[in-house]
């Protein structure tokens, strides 16, 4: 090989200084971009550190287990058992998921598979509006509209028809687990529906067409082709909805009744993790009380972090396999 060629190859691999530093602007711009990316990573670290720092007095006082397992909550006596909050959060989120997942997925099926294309924007617009409503406005509506309706109509009706179940016994108070679950169901519907829509849109139309060509009706094509293809993604949508339901604060605080007890009846007043933080944090006077509430936030953070990671991976697994095709 000619010596000139060797030099040329070496220069192509690693350009000499003079050629490399074409522009000072490029270097600083590059550095700036990396700075921003680093900043976001730092934010993630800072979130965990700040939570941990605020929660530390609680961990000095007692073990995590003692306040997860105890059900007696009395800040004045420094007795911190968070079981009733965990129970309330789980029950309300479960009600929300049971109601929202079928409705949200049916909504998505209607929009993607059934609705004529002219109707689609009319149907999807309300979903965006619903997602935009602030949580405190949901709470206001829940408190003055939904709770009275529950007290006078739905709860007496459920008590009469399904009263043999312990879930639907007791006086119809209006405020309680059922109210919290219902308001959460409304609030996570946009999340579940819009991600299901996203998932169903990535189903290759060849699958649908194959089913239809074999003589399937439209519903059969959905059931046999679209839904199995999008199953993982829809599971992800449900998990993302669950993540939102677990952390939702204001609306639940306003309708759940705020009483730190555990009841089997869905009509009874309960409490949830975010609600107790919202109600007590600003007024907490002792370092231990603040610490325990921050520790509950840390638990909430851990659970939602895990849920969101899994959900994002599931949704990505479906939507990425259809690499970047315009939906």
């Amino acid at each position: 090989m000619l010596p000139e060629a060797k030099v040329a190859i070496r220069h192509a691999r690693q350009p000499p200084r003079l050629l490399r530093k074409v522009n000072v602007g490029d270097g600083s711009y590059n550095a700036l971009l990396w700075f921003f990316a680093g900043f976001t990573l730092v934010i993630a670290g800072v979130i965990i550190l700040a939570l941990w720092g605020t929660a530390r007095p609680a961990f000095r006082e007692a073990s995590v287990f003692s306040f997860i397992a105890g059900s007696n909550w009395d800040p004045v006596q420094e007795s911190f058992g968070a079981l009733s909050f965990i129970y309330g959060t789980l029950v309300t989120s479960a009600i929300a998921l049971i109601l929202t997942v079928p409705i949200g997925v049916a909504f998505a099926i209607f929009l993607v598979e059934m609705a004529p294309s002219g109707v689609r924007p009319i149907v999807s617009f309300p979903l965006e509006l619903l997602a935009a409503i602030p949580s405190v406005v949901f709470g206001l509506w829940g408190l003055f509209v939904m709770v009275p309706w529950l007290r006078t109509s739905l709860e007496p009706f459920l008590g009469q028809t399904l009263g043999f179940l312990p879930l639907f016994r007791g006086p119809p108070l209006g405020m309680g687990y059922l109210a919290g679950g219902l308001i959460l169901a409304v609030m996570i519907l946009p999340t579940v529906a819009s991600i299901s829509i996203e998932v169903l849109r990535t189903v290759p139309s060849s699958l649908r067409e194959a089913a239809l060509a074999l003589g399937a009706t439209r519903w059969e094509a959905i059931r046999l082709a679209s839904l199995p293809y999008g199953r993982t993604g829809i599971l992800g949508a449900a998990l993302l909805g669950l993540g939102r339901a677990l952390g939702e604060t204001m609306a639940v605080t306003m309708v759940i009744g705020n009483s730190p007890e555990i009841h089997a009846s869905l009509f009874a007043a309960g409490y949830s993790l975010p609600a107790v933080i919202a109600n007590e944090f600003a007024e907490a006077t002792s370092a231990v009380h603040t610490g325990v509430l921050a520790a509950l936030a840390l638990i909430l953070f851990g659970i939602t972090f895990l849920l969101n990671s899994v959900a994002r991976l599931l949704v990505r697994a479906v939507t990425k396999s259809q690499a970047k095709s315009p939906a």
């Binding site: 990316a37 976001t40 990573l41 934010i43 979130i47 700040a50 405190v136 519903w219 059969e220 909430l300």
Partner: protein, 280 residues
């Protein structure tokens, strides 16, 4: 033939059920908008926007300090949140194809799911504890933390939509990379980024939970970042859970103001993104 009819019937039934789900999903939305409009409109008055809250039983009074407080908080949050969010999005779109990009993208996705009340405690630990008192600054830090992940993801999406032929054309003309990125790519994506900013602002304006123990509340006007500040959302919460009828009335009226603000921002962003699509 009988079997065929059964299958057709199943098809019709399922279509009806799915349509019913759509109707069912719309009931709360319609009910909510209708009640906020009708109950809120009754309480609208000029003094709602200009006066300080009045004591129970006293007529008049408003949530002027809450409205100003909310705007102040969101504005301050934008000062912190917009550069970091948009910068991170730009990084993800321009340099984000490697390992680091994947990690940053994953972190922003997961951070966007962190409950807002948790972010409030983070801001409490970061700002309130060192300063020893509640402040508007703490509230806006919380709101900024909530804005960054959504902004970053939206910005990335918008920048990636810019056709690579534009970049290549600029580079071929000898424009340096940084100038191409800022003057060509970013400018082309600007409409989409403005849309994302409007949505982020509307979300931040509606947040209550992270403000409860960061910016707290204030009965008076406040324009200092180191003092507690009232906000429209916290006012609505306090009025709604109070036992007084005239405060409930104020809660509905304030909710109408908030809902209009949020809806207008959303409609504006929708309009912007649509006109951008038509232009492309």
């Amino acid at each position: 033939m009988n079997r065929y009819l059964q299958r057709r019937l199943a098809n019709v039934v399922m279509t009806c059920l799915c349509a019913a789900a759509v109707v069912l999903a719309l009931i709360p939305l319609v009910s909510l908008f209708w009640l906020v409009l009708s109950k809120g409109a009754a309480g609208l008055s000029w003094s709602l926007f200009t006066s300080l809250p009045s004591p129970v039983g006293e007529s008049g009074g408003g949530v002027g300090n809450g409205i100003i407080g909310s705007l102040f908080l969101v504005g301050l949050a934008c000062v912190f949140g917009l550069p970091i969010g948009i910068g991170t999005g730009l990084f993800l779109a321009e340099r984000g194809n490697g390992r680091v990009g994947d990690v940053v993208r994953f972190i922003t996705e997961v951070l966007s799911g962190v409950p807002s009340i948790v972010v409030g405690i983070v801001a409490y630990g970061l700002v309130v504890v060192p300063m020893h008192h509640f402040s508007a600054l703490a509230g806006s830090v919380a709101l900024a933390l909530l804005m960054v992940p959504t902004l970053a993801r939206a910005t990335e999406e918008m920048v990636r939509l810019v056709p690579s032929s534009l970049r290549e054309a600029a580079l071929a003309l000898g424009v340096p990379q940084w100038k191409t990125s800022l003057r060509v790519i970013l400018r082309t994506a600007l409409g989409g980024i403005v849309t994302a900013v409007l949505l982020a602002v509307s979300r931040a304006a509606g947040e209550t939970a992270p403000l409860l123990f960061t910016s707290l509340n204030n009965q008076y006007w406040n324009f200092r970042p180191d003092q507690p500040t009232s906000s429209l959302t916290v006012q609505i919460f306090n009025y709604a859970i109070s036992p007084y009828e005239d405060w409930h009335q104020k809660a509905w009226a304030s909710a109408l103001v908030l809902l209009l603000f949020v809806s207008i921002l959303n409609l504006a962003s929708r309009f912007l993104s649509r006109s951008r699509l038509r232009g492309a």
